[in-house]
């Protein structure tokens, strides 16, 4: 057993022993026992992380406050992507900065090695990213967005990429725009991932620095500039994209977009788009669904903004909030997509609970998420079942946008602790204020991506710190909960694919959703925490184009590959096509 592993296990045990005591001393209630789901009682436990960056081999670091000027651009953050850059099925990591991109190969056991000749060579002020297999060749490709910059990199395998921007139809200079978060989804059902990228502000010739108080020069606010708007690029195949923003009905977004998340808002199986806009109402663009019929040649669905009607345009008090990061998840295993949007300080992180009929109810305060998030400026946010109890928890990266926040506003701080909310299973959360040795620690958090970096069945997280190295959070929680994970392959675009697992009365739906959060791309594996459920009667995967695959009698505590070309049937073995005996 390696020293690192022994140390990790020791800290885990220590954390497990101390966590209740520390929680008690900290004056916060620990999580309550979860509601049993069906016949499967869930084992609740504390979520414990370990920051393994120092020993991980990841030397990437940021120092935004040293930038001159240190304006609204410099403090807005940089990308983090989890990507399969080679063939080992362990997520590799891409970090972007103000002038570079670095790829770190995952060697396993939380050891990473920088890839010097990755091909990710273009220098620009990078902001966001999105990952998908653009050409269905089985290798993940990378899109980077930035300030007056955009780049499409073709994944070659073996930790190598080749830039194909020039011939892609995506302007390498982004048309002079400031692009932020991005996300892939198949919007026209041609099984190819299309791309939406958000736009933030038009700085013009200004440096983004303002003087809120005499003598204090720090980042301007979003309302000091005209709004930039985003673009939808349709994947025409062979790394060619067309800008279809206008025919898709997306040219009248509110702009000032920081967060982008594709999800199925109304449960019709088609991808809808939520945009978290800074100081502007949020936008929810609904796909026309079955009314859209793919015609011969290029065709574009026309989206309609239904944010107001659905109840997700504004915060709990009815006013536009500063939308930052966004993610779709499932609060109470209803099978419907709920939405979380991080916001500025003194605004509650918004949790919109999905109701039948495509309506959302603001559950920010009722869920217990609103109050504890008000002191902080939230950016990256992810739903993830961090304790494998069957319910999705929420992780939030916090940090102030002003590097002189302390001088501008009494009580504010530039660095802020990240927050972890454990899902109690009754549609409420308990904030877990201690989640490891010296964790959560303060950082100037921005991007946040999640995925199982060491293949141990527990979701880990990576968070960017504008003033230092990233936080590499290894999930060392100890519990007896089961899990299962599916990795989708085949010619169909996996993003938006829904998998339902069922046994007895336990039923949960999860979606392939690597986008969302803030300037990030997470691992696309579809992960289920199962609590005490030790065998699944059946699973069903439904791709965005309606293709279904059902497999009976699936064992747990493993990761499986599901190929969209397989027939439905009985489980045969890991990564093997099922025996076609099941009436699919």
């Amino acid at each position: 057993m390696s020293t690192i592993r022994r140390r990790a296990e020791f800290l885990t045990r220590l954390g497990r022993l101390l966590a209740p005591l520390v929680l008690f001393l900290a004056g916060c209630g620990g999580p309550q026992p979860n509601t049993p789901i069906g016949t499967a009682a869930v084992t609740a436990g504390f979520i414990v992380f370990e920051d393994v960056q120092p020993q991980s081999g990841i030397g990437f670091r940021l120092k935004a406050s040293m930038s001159r000027p240190c304006g609204v651009l410099q403090t807005s953050g940089h990308p983090i992507a989890m990507i399969q850059a080679d063939e080992d099925r362990l997520p590799d990591l891409v970090f972007g900065g103000s002038d570079r991109v670095e790829l770190y190969r995952n060697l396993g056991g939380f050891r990473f090695q920088r890839v010097a000749e990755s091909g990710l060579d273009r220098r620009a002020f990078w902001q966001g990213c999105a990952v998908a297999d653009v050409d269905s060749d089985g290798r993940e490709d990378l899109f980077l967005s930035g300030y007056r910059a955009a780049a499409l990199y073709r994944g070659l395998g073996g930790d190598r990429f080749q830039e194909v921007t020039a011939s892609s139809g995506v302007p390498p200079d982004a048309g002079g725009a400031w692009l932020t978060s991005a996300g892939f989804a198949d919007v026209n059902g041609d099984q190819r991932p299309d791309l939406y990228v958000g736009g933030y502000l038009r700085l013009g010739h200004r440096d983004g620095v303002c003087e809120p108080l005499p003598g204090i020069r720090t980042a301007c606010g979003p309302m000091d500039f005209e709004a930039e708007r985003g673009h939808l690029f349709l994947n025409d195949g062979l790394y060619r994209f067309s800008d279809v923003t206008r025919p898709a009905g997306l040219w009248e977004t509110h702009g000032r977009t920081l967060g982008v998340a594709w999800g199925d808002a109304n449960g019709d199986g088609y991808p809808d788009l939520y945009l978290a806009n800074d100081r502007m109402p949020g936008d929810l663009y609904l796909h026309p669904g079955a009314r859209f019929r793919r015609k011969e040649g290029p065709s574009v669905p026309r989206f309609t903004n239904r944010a107001v009607e659905s109840g997700v345009a504004v915060g709990p008090d009815g006013y536009a909030h500063a939308g930052m990061g966004v993610d779709w998840g499932d609060l109470g295993n209803t099978g419907r997509a709920d939405l979380v949007v991080t916001t500025y300080q003194r605004e509650a992180t918004a949790l919109y609970r999905s109701e039948p009929g495509g309506l959302f109810t603001d559950a920010s305060f009722a869920s217990g998420l609103g109050g504890p998030t008000m002191p902080f400026v939230g950016y990256g946010v992810r739903w993830a079942d961090l304790d494998n109890d069957g319910f999705s928890d929420i992780l939030i990266a916090n940090g102030h946008p002003l590097h002189l926040a302390e001088q501008v506003e009494p009580g504010a701080s530039y660095a802020q602790p990240f927050q972890l909310f454990q899902n109690r299973g009754d549609e409420t959360f308990a904030e877990q204020r201690v989640c490891g040795s010296s964790l959560p620690r303060s950082l100037v958090g921005r991007a946040l991506a999640t995925g199982d970096l060491d293949g141990d069945g527990k979701i880990d997280a990576v968070m960017s710190d504008l003033e230092g190295p990233p936080l590499i959070l290894r999930n060392v929680s100890e519990h007896n909960n089961h899990w299962v994970r599916f990795r989708l392959t085949g010619p169909r675009c996996p993003i938006g694919t829904k998998i339902t697992v069922q046994t007895g009365s336990f039923r949960a739906v999860r979606t392939c959703n690597p986008g969302g959060s803030y300037l990030s791309s997470s691992d696309p594996g579809i992960h289920f925490g199962l609590g005490a459920v030790s065998r699944l009667e059946a699973i069903e995967a439904v791709w965005p184009d309606g293709h279904r695959l059902r497999i009976r009698e699936v064992p747990v505590d493993q990761e499986f590959v599901l190929d969209s070309r397989w027939p439905s049937g009985s489980y045969q073995g890991p990564n093997q096509p099922p025996a076609p005996s099941f009436g699919g």
């Binding site: 100081r279 504004v314 709990p316 009815g318 536009a320 003194r346 309506l359 109810t361 109050g371 009494p410």
Partner: protein, 402 residues
């Protein structure tokens, strides 16, 4: 030592006289915002009897009594007699200001208040009263400057901190400064209930629900009919706790708030949201309809009304409420931007006209009138401003009153 102390003592006594005189004047002011000044710590007032009367004081007291008992003209004559005897008395000048306000002569009132400030330029109290008067005259920016001057001159006076904090609380983006002033006010005068209430409101905006609840409970304990405090405490409980008992208490507090002030839009909106949270859509609709009548510019109330109607299966009313919300929400960003630009360039006629147009679109006639008036005042000969003002007066002959 004695000779060095004498001027200090003299100055101190003089200062106390001015201060107490002003306090007396303030105590005579009618209800409205100035009523808060009546909560001045009693230890200051107890000195009153020990002080020699001002020259003209009997006339002043008689005049103020007459004014407050329905004879403002007669009262004004008496106070002016007093003023002739002590022409630089800030106290008497503020008395004149009050009576002129009641007589519907805001210009005369303002002039008297300005004279009071000029007569005692270092008197924080005069600045504060001036600020309150400017607020009554719907001049929030100059009022804020007067409150800031009052705090500069009397930082250890809880009333000055309270007046500033309360003003900042409703200013855009100044809640942090408001909180500082209100924390100071409460620490200077822990028994000042109004300061606790305002601090509770500030803490509610910060999400510090536990501390907000403490301060608001003491405010409600002191005055169980204070609709603002009741509504704020109800709002805190609605956000803070999820137990049925706490929600029931929140419900009761909000009901009490709406009874104490039938047109408290915040309380009605909170009550509507509480009903909506708990699936009582019909009750939610009733409360929210009252909320939008009380404040037709409340975006949140319109939004939640549309949601309540949608859930009740009333698509028509839901769509109408949504349309109203949409106008308010869509114009909010433009309004914020335009107001920020006015902050930087307050003498721009075109900006005032732009803001007035946005307010008109939002049916906020009071604010629209304020900015149209500002545009005309800045450039009386500006044809665009004049035309806009005339058009406004033609379509709104009763002015900005709702």
């Amino acid at each position: 030592m004695g000779t060095r102390l004498a001027p200090v003592v003299r100055r101190g006594a003089l200062g106390a006289l001015v201060l107490l005189g002003s306090l007396c004047a303030i105590r005579l002011f009618p209800a409205s915002r100035l009523a808060l000044l009546e909560q001045t710590p009693s230890s200051w007032l107890s000195l009153d009897a020990a002080l020699p009367p001002h020259d003209g004081r009997p006339e002043f007291i008689l005049g103020m009594r007459q004014a407050r008992h329905g004879h403002p003209s007669a009262g004004l004559q008496q106070v002016q007699v007093a003023l002739r005897k002590s022409p630089r008395s800030a106290e008497y000048l503020l008395g004149v200001a009050e009576i002129r306000m009641n007589l519907g002569d805001p210009d005369g009132a303002l002039e008297a208040a300005r004279s009071a400030v000029a007569a005692t330029p270092g008197d924080a109290m005069a600045h504060r009263v001036m600020g309150e008067m400017l607020l009554d005259l719907d001049q929030p920016d100059p009022a804020l400057r007067e409150f800031e001057a009052a705090v500069r001159m009397g930082p250890n006076d809880a009333m000055n901190q309270l007046a500033l904090g309360r003003r900042l609380l409703v200013e855009r983006g100044r809640v942090a400064d408001a909180r500082v002033a209100l924390e100071r006010a409460v620490s200077l005068a822990p028994s000042l209930v109004e300061a606790r209430r305002e601090l509770g409101l500030a803490l509610l905006k910060y999400g510090e629900f536990e501390r907000a609840e403490t301060h608001l409970r003491s405010a409600v304990g002191a005055d169980g009919t204070d609709a603002h405090a009741l509504a704020a405490l109800g709002a805190v409980l609605r956000r803070r706790v999820r137990s049925a008992v706490a929600r029931s208490e929140a419900h009761e507090l909000l009901e009490r708030a709406t009874r104490a002030d039938l047109s408290d839009a915040t309380a009605l909106h909170e009550l509507g949201m509480l009903h909506l949270d708990e699936g009582r859509c019909s009750e939610a609709r009733t409360a929210l309809e009252r909320a939008v009548v009380a404040d037709p510019t409340s975006q949140g109330a319109w939004l939640h009304l549309s949601q309540a109607c949608a859930r009740l299966g009333l698509p028509g009313p839901a769509e109408r409420a949504r349309a109203r919300f949409r106008i308010l929400a869509e114009s909010q960003a433009a309004l914020s931007t335009a107001l920020s630009r006015i902050d930087r360039n307050p003498s721009s006629v075109s900006l005032h006209l732009e803001v007035a147009r946005i307010y008109l679109r939002r049916s906020d006639y009071q604010q629209a009138e304020h900015h149209l008036g500002a545009a005309v005042e800045l450039e009386p000969g500006n044809p665009v401003a004049k035309a806009a003002w005339s058009e406004y007066r033609r379509s709104h002959p009763n002015g900005g009153a709702r």
